[in-house]
């Protein structure tokens, strides 16, 4: 695998970039490439909307009634 291909490098930074886990220097590096490269820019945008979509579609609210059941668990004797 060649590491000199800038798009490949950019692809490797995609995940930590969107997770906001890159260092400031790396963010600068990624954004410099993204500003110049439409191919990667589109893929980053796609990935960002995919993340949002996964979070939205796979995130299910707590069913009604569960909170009351949980509340009844309060005040039990202590210990593990």
């Amino acid at each position: 695998m060649s590491t000199t291909d800038p798009c490949e490098k950019c692809e490797q930074m995609l995940q930590p970039y969107l997770d906001r886990e890159l260092s400031v220097v790396e963010v600068g590096e990624a954004e410099q490439h993204l500003n110049a490269c439409e191919y990667c820019r589109r893929r980053y945008r796609f990935e960002e909307s995919l993340r949002r979509y996964v979070r939205l579609t796979a995130s299910e609210r707590m069913p009604p009634g569960l909170l009351d059941k949980i509340k009844e668990l309060r005040g039990q004797p202590e210990g593990i």
Binding site: E47, L50, A58, P63, L73, G79
Partner: protein
């Protein structure tokens, strides 16, 4: 009443207040805890049970929570441990067959199938069905699913996920990376055949 008794009474009152505050704080996270639980197990009933077991344990062992630390992560740590205890170890370590596709795999597939320009629109992800996303998540091997669900649904940082699952942060990163690739591979297969 003697001085010692009065002191003991005051201490008991303070403890009772601390405990009630702890319980109220913990209840605030119930919905967020459920959202993660729901994607870690296969049915709604299981998720409800798991959340109730988590809270039962949390309420009983409230003293082991350190005030000022991340309570949501603390609750999720109890939950993931309980989930492990529930005999989900039946699954063997997933076989790590090579997965050659890169991170752009799904985007490239969709771009190729519909014309590159369409990737500009957010709508392109909506071609992936809601059921498809849920199924693809539940098809992930457990170790990968835990991390993907904690980070992508629970919105935990890598560091929090590492703490919750009691694994090194490098393990979180590699499982997350691989888990998402598997997810995208599954989604590509489902949506494009």
């Amino acid at each position: 009443m003697g001085e010692a008794e009065a002191e003991a009474g005051r201490r008991a009152a303070t403890e009772a207040r601390d405990r009630i505050r702890f319980e109220e704080d913990a209840l605030e996270f119930a919905d967020q805890v459920y959202r993660v639980a729901r994607r870690l197990v296969s049915s709604r009933e299981e998720a409800e049970d798991l959340v109730q077991d988590t809270y039962a344990r949390a309420f009983r062992s409230w003293r082991s929570f350190t005030p000022g630390t991340n309570m949501r992560a603390w609750l999720l740590r109890i939950l993931t441990n309980l989930n492990l205890d529930r005999g989900r170890k039946v699954q063997r370590t997933p076989d790590l067959q090579p997965l050659e596709e890169g991170d752009y795999y799904l985007a490239n597939k969709l771009a190729a199938s519909s014309g590159e320009q369409e990737l500009e629109h957010d709508r392109v992800v909506e071609r992936l069905s809601q059921d498809g996303v849920v199924n693809a998540l539940s098809a992930l091997p457990h170790d990968f699913r835990d991390v993907v669900v904690l980070v992508d649904i629970g919105e935990f940082s890598y560091a929090d996920a590492a703490q919750i699952l009691d694994v090194p942060i490098g393990t979180v990163m590699s499982r997350l990376h691989r888990g998402r690739r598997i997810l995208k591979h599954t989604l590509a297969e489902e949506s494009l055949g």
